[in-house]
Symmetry: C4
Subunit: 273 residues, 4 copies
C-alpha cells in the first residue's frame, strides 16, 4: 500500500507549487511545456510544408496525452486533499464536475475516442484546443485574473441582460434589413441569417464590407440602427467599468482596514457606537 | 356575471407569476413560447426552402394572434388591478398608452389590418417584429434590466446631448467630405447623403469599405475627423460608466446599510439629527 | 436716440429667452429655423435633381444671411449687457473674440466675401457649415452639454497627452509598415502618408479594407500594433469615464450640501473642528 | 580642468529648463527641432519626388546625429547630478540603462553602425524612428503623461491578464475557424496564421474585409466569437476606467487636503492618533 504521506506529497507536487518546492515547480513547468508543445503542433499541422513531420507530431502528441492522463488520474486520486471538508467519494465527484476537472478531462479524452469511433476523427481532434484553457491555472498573474473573473461573475446578470438587449435588437433589425434589401440585392441578403450576419458585423463595428445596404431606405435604417447599436455596445463597457471601480474600492477598504471595517469608521478608525 | 374574485385571479395569472403559482407560470410560458414561435416563423419565411410550409406558418400565426388578442383584452379588462390608485376608465387609458400596452397592441394588430387595407400587407407584417420586445417583460434578469433602464433614463439628457454633438459633427463633415471628394469620385460621393453614409460608417468605426476618400486632401480631412469622431464616441461610454458607478454606489449604500442609512452617518456612525 | 430701456429689451430678446418671454422665444425659434433651413439647402444643393431650385435657394440664403448680419450687429451693440463688468469697448472686443462671437461672424461673412474675391466662391461657401455650430447655443439640453464641455475641459491635458501618444505611435508604425510593405505592394503603400492612412484606419478600428499588410512580417507587425493601438484608444475612454465620475460626485456633493461642504462633514453634517 | 560649477551649469542646460533659464530653454528647443527635422526627413524620403534632395537629407541627418551624440556624452558625464544619491560610476550605469538612456543611445547609434556593418543599412535605419520617443521627455503635458503612465503601471498585471485572455481566445478561435473554413476557402484560410489574422481583425473590430467566413457554420461560430471578443475588449477599457477613477480620487485627496490628510480623517475631521 502507498502510505498516506506519499499521497499527500503527490498532491503537493501536482498542485501549483511554492517557489521553494523544486519538484512541484518542475512538474508545473512540464505540464505548461506539454500544453504549449501541443498547441504548436496543432498550429504547425495547418501549414502544408509541415506535412513531412506528421508522424513526429503524432508521437509527441501521444506522449503528452499519456502525461495528461496520468496527471488526471492522480488529481482524481488526491481530490480528498483539494476538498478536505468533503468525504472521499464526494471530493472526487466535486473535482470531476468542476470547471478545471472538465477542462483536464477534455484535454486528453478526444485522443482516445477515435479508437472507439473512428469516423469522427476531425471533429474530436478540435477539442485539443481546450488544453489551452489549462494555461489559466498555471499563471503568474493569477490574482489579476481572479479580479477579472470576480468582476465578470458579480456583473453577470447585468452583462447577460445587455447582451440580451443587443441580441433582440440584432434579431429585429436583421428581419427589417432583410425586408428592405432583399429585392435590391437578392444574392447578398438571401435570408434572415444574412441579415443577422450584417447586424453582427455592423453593431459590433467590425464591418467586413461583404454585406451592407445599398438602397436609400436601407441605408437610413442602417444609420439609425448603427447609432442605436453602438450605444448598446457601450452599455457592457459601462457595466464593466463600474464593476472594476467597485472591486477596486472594496480591495482598498478591505485590504487596508481588514476586520475593523465593520466596527470602526473606515477612515479615522474610531470606534462606531 | 363574473365574480370579482375570478377577475382578480385572471389578473394574477396574466401578470408575471410567483414561482409557486403554477397556472400563472404556465401562462407566462405559453406567451413566451408563442412569441418565440412567431419569431422563428418570421425568420423561417425568409428561407426559400421553407416556402412549402407557408400555409402551416399562416395557421400557427393565426393561432398565436388570437392568443395575443385574448390576452390583450384580459389585460385591458383587469387594468384596474394593475393601477389600483386609478379609477376604472383611467386605469384602462393608462395601460393602453403605456409602453408595454402599445407593444402588446402592435404585436397582434398588424395581423388584422390587411383585412381592411389589403394592399399594404408587406409593410404591416414587419410590425410582427415588435412582439420580440415583449420578451423584455417575461425575463429572468428583470432586476438587471431595470438597472440598465434606470441608468439610461437618468443619463438621458447627457446621452442625447452627446448624440446631438456627434450628429452635428457628422452633418458638417459629410458636407465637407462631399465637397472634397465629389469631383474625384462622382459615382461614390454622389451627394450629401453619400457623405453622411461615409461619416456614420467611419465615426462609428464600422468601415464597410464601400466609400472612403481617395484624394490627399480628403484623406487628411478624414484623418482629422476620424480622430475627433472616435473621441466623440468615447463620450457616451464615459457617461454610461459614470451612470453605472453612480447606480452601484447607491445600491450599495441603500442595500447594505438598509434603514440605518437614514439615521446614521455611513462613515463615522454618528447619529443624524 | 434709442433709449437705454429699448436697448436692454433688445438684448433680452436676442439672448436665450425665458419660457414666459414670448418675443424672445419667437426670436430664438426664428434663428434656429434659419440655421436649419440653411443646412437643408446646403444638403439639397448636393443632389442633382435639386438644380432647378438653385435661384430659390440663393434667395432664401440671402434672406437668412441678412437676418444673421442684423443679429450680429445687435449682439455687438448690446455686448455691454452680456459682460456688465466690462466697459463698453472691452465688452465688444470680448464678444467679438469669444467662441460664439467668431461662430456668429463666420456664419454670414463667407456670403459677402465672394463679392470682393469672386474667384474663391467654393472654398468660402464651405464655411456656411459653421452655422450648424450655433445650434449648440439654442438647446434644450444646455445643462447636459455644459457637463460634457466641463469634463472635456477639465481632462484636456490628459486627453491631449493620450492623443499625442497615439499620434507618435501612428507616425512610428506608419514608417515601419511602409518599410515592410512598400516592396510587396508599391501601388498601395506608396509613401509614408499611405502608411499613416493605414495606421489611422487600423488603430481607430475603422478598417475600410483599401489598405492592409499582405506579407507575413507586415501582418505580424500589424497584429502587434493593432493590439497596442486598441489599448491606446481605450485610454481616452478611461480618462473620460473618470471625468464623468468626478463631475457626477461633485454635482452630488455640491448640489446637495452646498456651502456647508467645506465646514461640515459631508455625510453627517456635523461641524468639523 | 573644467570646474565643477561649469559641469553643474551644463547639467542644468541639458535638463528640461525652467521658464526663466533662457539657455536651457534654447537647448530644449534645439533638440526638439532636431528630432522633428529628422522625422520629417524620414517621412519625406518615402516620397519619390523627394529623391533629388537625398544628399541634403544625408547632411542634415549627420548634423543632428552629431548633436545627439554630444548631448548623450554630456548626459553620461553629468549623470552624477541626475542621481545625486549614487556614486559617480553607478550614476552613469543607472542613466545608461534607464529608459531614456536607451532611447537616447538608439537615437544616434544606428547612424554609426553601417560604418562597421555596411550590409545592414536598411534594418539599422529603421531605428531612427526611436528618436520620436524622445519627444515624450520635452513635453508641455509632462504631468498628464505621468498620470497616464502611472495608471498603466498600476494596472499592469490586470491589463496583461486581460490581453492574455484575449490572446488565448484568439489562438483557440483561429484554429477552429481554420478547421471550419479551410475547405471552403483554401486560398483565404491557408493556415492557422490566416485564422489568427482573421481573429485579430475581427475581435479588435478592425474588419478589413480581406478575410471572413463564408460557410454557415463558420459564420455562426464567427458570430459567437465576435460577441465574446467584443466583450473581452471591453475588459481593458473597464480596467483603465477604474484606474483613472482611482488615480483621480487619490490626487483629489492628496491635492486638496494636503498635509492634513495624514493627521485628520478626511470625512469627519477628527484628529488621527
Amino acid at each position: 500500500m502507498i502510505r498516506e504521506s506519499t499521497k499527500k506529497r503527490i498532491f503537493e507536487i501536482i498542485q501549483i507549487g511554492k517557489e521553494t518546492d523544486f519538484v512541484s515547480r518542475a512538474f508545473d513547468f512540464t505540464i505548461v511545456a506539454a500544453i504549449l508543445l501541443n498547441l504548436l503542433i496543432a498550429i504547425a499541422e495547418t501549414f502544408e510544408t509541415m506535412e513531412v513531420y506528421t508522424s513526429l507530431f503524432r508521437s509527441v502528441e501521444a506522449a503528452t496525452v499519456i502525461l495528461f492522463t496520468v496527471e488526471y488520474v492522480l488529481r482524481v486520486w488526491t481530490a480528498g486533499y483539494l476538498y478536505p471538508e468533503k468525504s472521499g467519494g464526494r471530493a472526487v465527484v466535486k473535482f470531476v464536475t468542476s470547471f478545471y476537472g472538465i477542462v483536464d478531462l477534455l484535454s486528453f479524452l478526444p485522443f482516445y475516442l477515435p479508437v472507439f469511433f473512428p469516423e469522427g476523427i476531425v471533429a474530436f481532434r478540435m477539442f485539443r484546443i481546450v488544453r489551452i484553457l489549462r494555461l489559466f491555472r498555471v499563471n503568474k498573474y493569477y490574482d489579476a485574473l481572479n479580479v477579472i473573473g470576480r468582476v465578470l461573475r458579480r456583473k453577470r446578470s447585468q452583462l447577460i441582460s445587455s447582451v440580451f438587449i443587443i441580441f433582440v435588437l440584432m434579431t429585429a433589425s436583421s428581419l427589417c434589413m432583410y425586408s428592405l434589401e432583399h429585392e435590391a440585392q437578392p444574392e447578398v441578403f438571401q435570408n434572415a441569417f444574412s441579415g443577422f450576419w450584417w447586424a453582427v458585423s455592423t453593431l459590433l463595428t467590425v464591418g467586413y464590407g461583404d454585406i451592407y445596404p445599398i438602397t436609400v431606405v436601407g441605408r437610413i435604417f442602417g444609420i439609425g440602427i448603427t447609432f442605436l447599436g453602438v450605444g448598446m455596445v457601450a452599455i457592457p463597457t459601462g457595466i464593466l467599468s463600474a464593476g472594476f471601480v467597485e472591486e477596486m474600492s472594496e480591495i482598498q477598504t478591505t485590504g487596508k482596514e481588514g476586520e475593523t471595517e465593520k466596527n470602526y469608521c473606515p477612515y479615522c478608525g474610531k470606534k462606531l457606537n
